[in-house]
Symmetry: C2
Subunit: 375 residues, 2 copies
Amino acid sequence: MTVNALTSSTPAATADTTRVHIDLGDRSYDILIGEGLLGDAASYAAAPKSSTAVIVSNTTVAPLYAARLEAALRGKHAKVVTVALPDGEEFKDWQTLNLIFDALLGHGADRKTVLYALGGGVVGDMTGFAAASYMRGVPFVQVPTTLLAQVDSSVGGKTAINHPLGKNMIGAFYQPRVVVCDLTSLDTLPDRELSAGLAEVIKYGPIADAAFFSWLESNLDALLARDRSALRYAIQRSCEIKAWVVGQDEKESGLRAILNFGHTFGHAIEAGLGYGEWLHGEAVGCGMVMAAALSAKLGLIGNDVAARITALVARAKLPTVGPKLGADKYIELMRLDKKSEAGEIRFVVIDQLGTASMRPAPDALVRDVIDAHTA
Amino acid sequence: MTVNALTSSTPAATADTTRVHIDLGDRSYDILIGEGLLGDAASYAAAPKSSTAVIVSNTTVAPLYAARLEAALRGKHAKVVTVALPDGEEFKDWQTLNLIFDALLGHGADRKTVLYALGGGVVGDMTGFAAASYMRGVPFVQVPTTLLAQVDSSVGGKTAINHPLGKNMIGAFYQPRVVVCDLTSLDTLPDRELSAGLAEVIKYGPIADAAFFSWLESNLDALLARDRSALRYAIQRSCEIKAWVVGQDEKESGLRAILNFGHTFGHAIEAGLGYGEWLHGEAVGCGMVMAAALSAKLGLIGNDVAARITALVARAKLPTVGPKLGADKYIELMRLDKKSEAGEIRFVVIDQLGTASMRPAPDALVRDVIDAHTA
């Protein structure tokens, strides 16, 4: 994978809607990025009309945005109801998923009912899996309100819930009809979650686009200050890169696994501490530092490149040191990773800035990295 | 839909393996029908090799056949484990599904692990949904041991669990790698379940093949006596007809709904009595009698055709009179049917013997049918 294979794009100068097209044949859809899109009926033109729509949100986001979304949908659906789930990664489970099914059946939802996911990654993943499974599949729309969800859940069709023994273990590949990323919804995002979202943005540099990594080094302060034009470009470029990777490997048989850069260590941190202790993006940020260190130890990149990645993660106000769970515990948890095969852990490593691959690593090196990067 | 559009076939004369090919592009697979296939390693040639295989069965079927299947799989998978679920439609729920996920994660199953469904329709539907959802999809094989599962679950890729408010409300379309129908496994089937399976076999006559309906009228006694050559042909023809219908409408947007002949009334019976009270096939048998009566009341078929359908259902030792839940209750439950749209119930009706379609019906006629066919 090289930068040249990607269609290059430059930051948009206007305040109009930016459109990233995800080409998946008859499951193609657009990601819309702009200001004020959430409350604009036109944003949802690609969703089918139906008598009933169910907005799935959480108790934090629903009070802020559900009324605005409901109003935008009334011309399209005679009945619009909102379900507010408890907020947090620790609720991404069967019990909470069942609240969605209970609401759908309680409101007489049929197989034409459209689900709208309004919230962050947890809401998007759960709503997507509910849509994939309810009556074996109903249409759904993503309205991500966090930076992480806008850059991560927008592309790839991954939906899932957690199992006590592993994150995202139960789910489906299922595509939305449209993804509506409203930049103004990021105004209400807590600083900690903005940083968590930046972890996934930063990820796209090392794995696929050295120029974007440099752009991030130059623009990180603007992103932290929530400059809308910087955010718009960061989201657009992240979605473009992810779409390019996913477009070649929709079902994650090979290349797509590079999107999990930082996630193997990150998932172990999340599972080891208990989901919800660290934000997903925080775990990924720290996981990228560890994966970059492993790449350097394997002799793939120099320590200078690993240091640039670590420095950018730190500037984004993300942790660069993992919890001291012990190397045994990290390795035990990483063996459960979905990329593992027959018990062998496979890591996403950086071959050079902008190029990644997946490979196993000697146990001793992995232990060195864990010992050096946890405290 | 006419008989002529279907490839005709005649009862096989040999004891060799009968093969029905299900053509779904890169998800194509074969249904194998024969004697002794379950314990023959060659039957599973189409399943991928992997380090781990998990057989999902139930506490009734596992003691009869799990050891034989395990032995057949040992050359293909280093580790073969069996999970025995509680037996019965009333266990087709989240809690039981989670037993499968617990076992998969407990045994370190990865995304190459192959699931084998060994049992009837409940085991097949749950294992299929578990396979569709575990790590967003692992390969699976159907080894149906009941007549109903052999003719019904073998084709169509429908997997699901029940919700307290509706049957098969949560699931996925997901195709197996191969379906292995061992005629000798029908030897251990209770009479009541043999009859339940015949309900789904009978169904294919009125909806798609008048000649097959006549064949059934001539061969029902042989089927009840478990004559293997009669069973082989009944299974083959049922699978061929279902494959022909599903091949034109994989995701059930239109034509495929005719496979639900008898199921709208039938599901109401099952839900109204509580799942597990009547067998699914019993409810479908009675539902076909009611749907045939509705077709006659709508003036689509004569009373003589409805009487032939009723007589064949009765000869198969299936109920022809539904429980007296009251017309209101039936209608309330049928509104939850997946074919309903905006609260309007859509019935599969017989236009002439061998041709079916889907349409709404006046409430008064539906109430007449319910009143006349319940006691």
